[in-house]
């Protein structure tokens, strides 16, 4: 049992602090207190003010902490509880860091805790911070193995920096080549809190709530053609049930028969990649009509895309979507009744006016829709802060307030269509998106949430109609932030929104560049899995076992070789003093010319010997020898400068001598 040195104790404290910091944001208060208290106690012991604690004190501490953990985390079994347990263990161990083995336990657990931080944050900053943590932990590990008499705190850090930086190339090789396999058992991320985003009910005011948030919803990168702003309808949910006040997605039972729909006569399709932010919900987004559902996903009602598992982490998926098509040209009885469902009564005035317009339109659904939209564009206003509607919301909206956001218009139009017997549904999703010119992708934020309507026409299937376009056409063509730039309710919850969003300016450019960097990070680092196989297949043609083994071993072996070479070649010890450095350069040059300086030789004697071989150097060498003596015995800073100059003069002179030599030999 080796006791660790004092410098090593300090290093354990540093490593502990580094590893715990990222978790402070969510740990319970008492545990944060413990994390502050125990290093403080250890410092008191370190400085000799307190003795090492008695075993009874330690036992008491352990019991108290165990009780605290049970109280705080008894209802959770996820990662939070595990990490809290580990952090508590680290904090307790901190008190009794004394032997080498204590330190090892601390550091190994610290490395694991460092890795668990990635379950909470995956940003570039977090990755860099974790790298720093590894450097600190490795320095701490080195500090317990170095000479216990060394009190230098920087030395282990230097060693650690060297080790970690040398490890990076091999890490890269492993990262790229190591095959990724799916989870061995299912784990939950233990984040039950609802994240902002669309919900499964749509009351008239809901979507305007979302416009307060500039949070990322998802990002999309198209392989080829990028659809224009007016075509960017990202479908997410189908609201099919209306209870007189709000719209609701079909329940689990209806899910079964309102499933995938038939897609026919596809004329134009695009393929793209979606990076979807975690929502803790099952629904996803797809541009218009996706052709097929990727693995782990399925089609929900109205051909919307659902994930099998709730999306508790960032999700990447590739899709191909149709922009011109016929969706479900034949409607089953069940679907028809589901998409015609209305409460038996309520909103009577609306039903009556719908019937009136239906007659005006000669019972033609398209003409009917045109009449409604004309009404909307004539006297309705589009606003983020509509007045409350109370009971009979459709009536009040259509005849009294006439002010609303996309949810109001979509809900009202769907109601009107259903009341005259045209199947209709409200679609929730996002419209638009910001184009990032640096990485050529589209960013869609929560404030771009949108609702519109699909209604069904015999033989043509479902047709999209966006009533908002009639009221506020610019909302569809422009990005949301430009449309709402003047509205105080827009992005009310986002600091600095005025400058970061909307309009232009260097701050917007900077934001876009940072976002582009993050996008690449998410696509290439966080989402890196399995691509290496495609990449290898592309490089080697047919993949065979032998080729695979070579492909894995070759980079590995070459990196290993380089590492070994760098380790074993040693380093030329460079003197810190510029005079010594210059002198060493001069002498090694002379050595190569065949006049090595003997170890017992003074510089003066050596100079004499050099001059006998190279008379051309006599002036320089003499001055050098004289200056050296002066510095050695008088040592003024001006003389040091002269000596340095003399040495460098000699070096330059030597170079010309050599050149002359070479020319002589050439002749």
């Amino acid at each position: 049992m080796r006791q660790i040195s004092r410098a090593a104790v300090i290093w354990q404290l540093i490593a502990f602090a580094g590893v715990v910091i990222p978790h402070l944001a969510w740990l319970p208060f008492w545990l944060i207190g413990l994390c502050l208290a125990t290093p403080a106690v250890r410092l008191m012991i370190h400085t000799g003010r307190w003795p090492l604690p008695h075993w009874s004190v330690k036992l008491l501490l352990i019991l108290v902490v165990a009780a605290g953990l049970l109280l705080s985390f008894s209802r959770e079994t996820g990662m939070d509880a595990t990490v809290a347990l580990l952090v508590a263990g680290l904090a307790l161990k901190m008190v009794e860091i004394y032997h080498r083995r204590d330190a090892l336990v601390l550091l190994y657990v610290a490395l694991f805790v460092c890795a668990t931080a990635f379950l909470y944050h995956q940003s570039i900053a977090m990755a860099l911070y974790a790298l720093l943590n590894v450097v600190l932990v490795v320095a701490a590990l080195n500090s317990i193995y170095q000479d216990p008499l060394r009190t230098d705190l920087i030395r282990p850090l230097k060693r650690s920096l060297r080790l970690v930086s040398l490890s990076l190339p091999l890490m890269l090789v492993l990262f790229i080549l190591f095959p990724r396999i799916g989870p061995l058992w299912s784990v939950s991320m233990n984040q039950q809190r609802a994240l902002s985003g669309l919900s499964d009910t749509l009351a008239p005011g809901d979507i305007s709530q979302l416009t307060k948030s500039a949070e990322l919803a998802f990002r999309v990168r198209f392989d080829g053609e990028v659809p224009g702003p007016a075509q960017r309808y990202w479908r997410s949910l189908i609201y099919s049930e209306f209870d007189g006040r709000s719209w609701r997605v079909p329940g689990d039972y209806e899910h079964r028969y309102l499933g995938a729909e038939t897609l026919a006569q596809i004329r134009r399709s695009l393929s793209y990649e979606v990076v979807y932010e975690p929502s803790n919900r099952n629904w996803l987004v797809a541009l218009d009509q996706p052709l097929s559902a990727p693995q782990g996903m399925r089609f929900g009602p109205g051909q919307t895309l659902y994930s099998v598992r709730s999306v508790d982490r960032r999700l990447h998926y590739r899709l191909r979507s149709a922009l011109e098509y016929r969706l479900q040209p034949i409607l089953s009885e069940r679907e028809r009744s589901a998409y015609l469902q209305l409460p038996n009564e309520g909103n009577q005035r609306s039903r009556e006016v719908a019937e009136q317009w239906w007659q005006e339109a000669d019972q033609n659904p398209e003409r009917f829709v045109a009449i409604v939209l004309r009404q909307f564009s004539r006297s309705f206003t589009y606003t983020l802060t509509p007045p409350p509607l109370g009971q009979e919301p459709i009536d009040r909206f259509l005849f009294d307030t006439q002010q609303g956001f996309c949810g109001h218009y979509a809900g009202a139009l769907a109601f009107l269509l259903r009341s005259i017997g045209v199947p209709a549904r409200v679609v929730g999703g996002y419209q638009g998106g910001e184009w990032n010119p640096y990485e050529r992708y589209i960013t869609v934020r929560q404030y771009e949430a949108h609702a519109w309507v699909e209604y069904w026409i015999e033989n043509r299937g479902w047709v999209r109609i966006d009533p908002t376009a009639a009221v506020s056409p610019e909302r569809i063509v422009e990005t949301a932030d430009r449309v709402f730039a003047g509205d105080p309710a827009f992005l009310a919850d986002t600091p600095l929104a005025r400058w970061r969003f909307g309009g232009s300016g260097w701050l917007v450019d900077l934001r876009r560049q940072i976002e582009a960097l993050n996008f690449n990070w998410h696509r290439w680092v966080l989402n890196y899995q399995g691509q290496q196989m495609e990449l290898l297949a592309g490089l080697m043609g047919q993949v065979s076992m032998l080729k695979m083994v070579f492909a894995l071993l070759l980079p590995f072996a070459s990196v290993m070789l380089v590492m070994a070479w760098m380790q074993l070649k040693g380093r030329r010890a460079k003197p810190k003093d510029p005079i010594d450095r210059a002198l060493q350069r001069l002498i090694s040059r002379l050595e190569r010319l065949g006049i090595p300086r003997r170890t017992d030789e003074t510089l003066q004697r050596y100079a004499i010997r050099v001059v006998t071989e190279y008379p051309e150097l006599s002036a320089g060498m003499e001055s050098l020898a004289r200056q050296d003596e002066a510095v050695r015995y008088a040592g003024k800073s001006t003389q040091r400068r002269d000596l340095l100059a003399a040495i460098n003069d000699c070096y330059r002179a030597l170079r010309t001598v050599r050149r002359v030599d070479a020319e002589d030999r050439g002749k």
Binding site: F118, M126, A127, Q146, L526
Partner: protein, 325 residues
Amino acid sequence: MSWAEVFGIGRLSRLLRNWSLRRFPRRRTVRLTQNRIYILPTAAGVGFIFLLLMLLLLAINYESNLAYGLTFLLVSLFILSIIQTYANLAGLEVTALRGHACYAGEHAGFTVELRAAKGRDHEQLVLSWEQGTPLTLDLTDQRVAQIELACAAPRRGWLYPGPLKLETHFPLGLFRAWTWLDTGLRALVYPKPLPCRAPESGGGDGAMESRRTRAQGFEDFNGFSRYENGVSLHQVAWKVYARGQGLHVKQYAGAASDEVWLDWDRWPAVSEEERLSGICYWALELTQREQPYGVRIPGVSLAPASGEAHRLRVMRELALFGQGA
């Protein structure tokens, strides 16, 4: 203690050692290269592998590429530390210089010179004989170091310390690199000096009585004189030195120039080793008092003399008595 020993592979380790020693001829100076250096993970290294597995499990189950990255960083650190630990021994030049005589029951010192490889540092090198206390040193600023390595000497005669073990856990303690060197060093172990009754002189010329009185006069302490170079350290008055009054030499009244014989045959009849120990004790005593003495043991007779050279000769004979060489 290495984990190999913990798991009861000590015998295997001895076999490996003997095989390794047989592979190389004995040489005074040895440069450590890859065919001499062995390297295995330590218990801490095995713990680290366990940690790596845990991290890999975390990365796989949470499909977190950053956790994969961290795991791989630590894997490459682990692999790199093989090279680092190896490099910490490789290139080191070990020269076995000499062994120093001692008395049985003490520790014999062996001088070994270590020379660092060009341009590289060696840290936390642990050198040990099988029967000795290990010694740890760094070769960083200092490129060459002469160290004295102790080995327990339980019996008189030649002490062969066995192979020299050089090992290191530096820099991260995950690996242990070690090597065995057959240095060929040996040290002479003198009999343990055991105080006993004053010997009877073996002169045989009738002068015995007077000599005995004189012999008893050995104990008469006469005072101090200043220490001069070359005086045996046994005569130094350490108590005086400890009081901070400088180095002084004890002077004895009986230290006249009379001859004394330490004779095996006339020694009180005790066992062989005890006789040798007794003779050794008196030889040291007499040397300290600068009184000439002669030694007679079976097969060897050393004429009375005094001084360091005589003492060494006597000690050597005593040490090797009955040992053939």
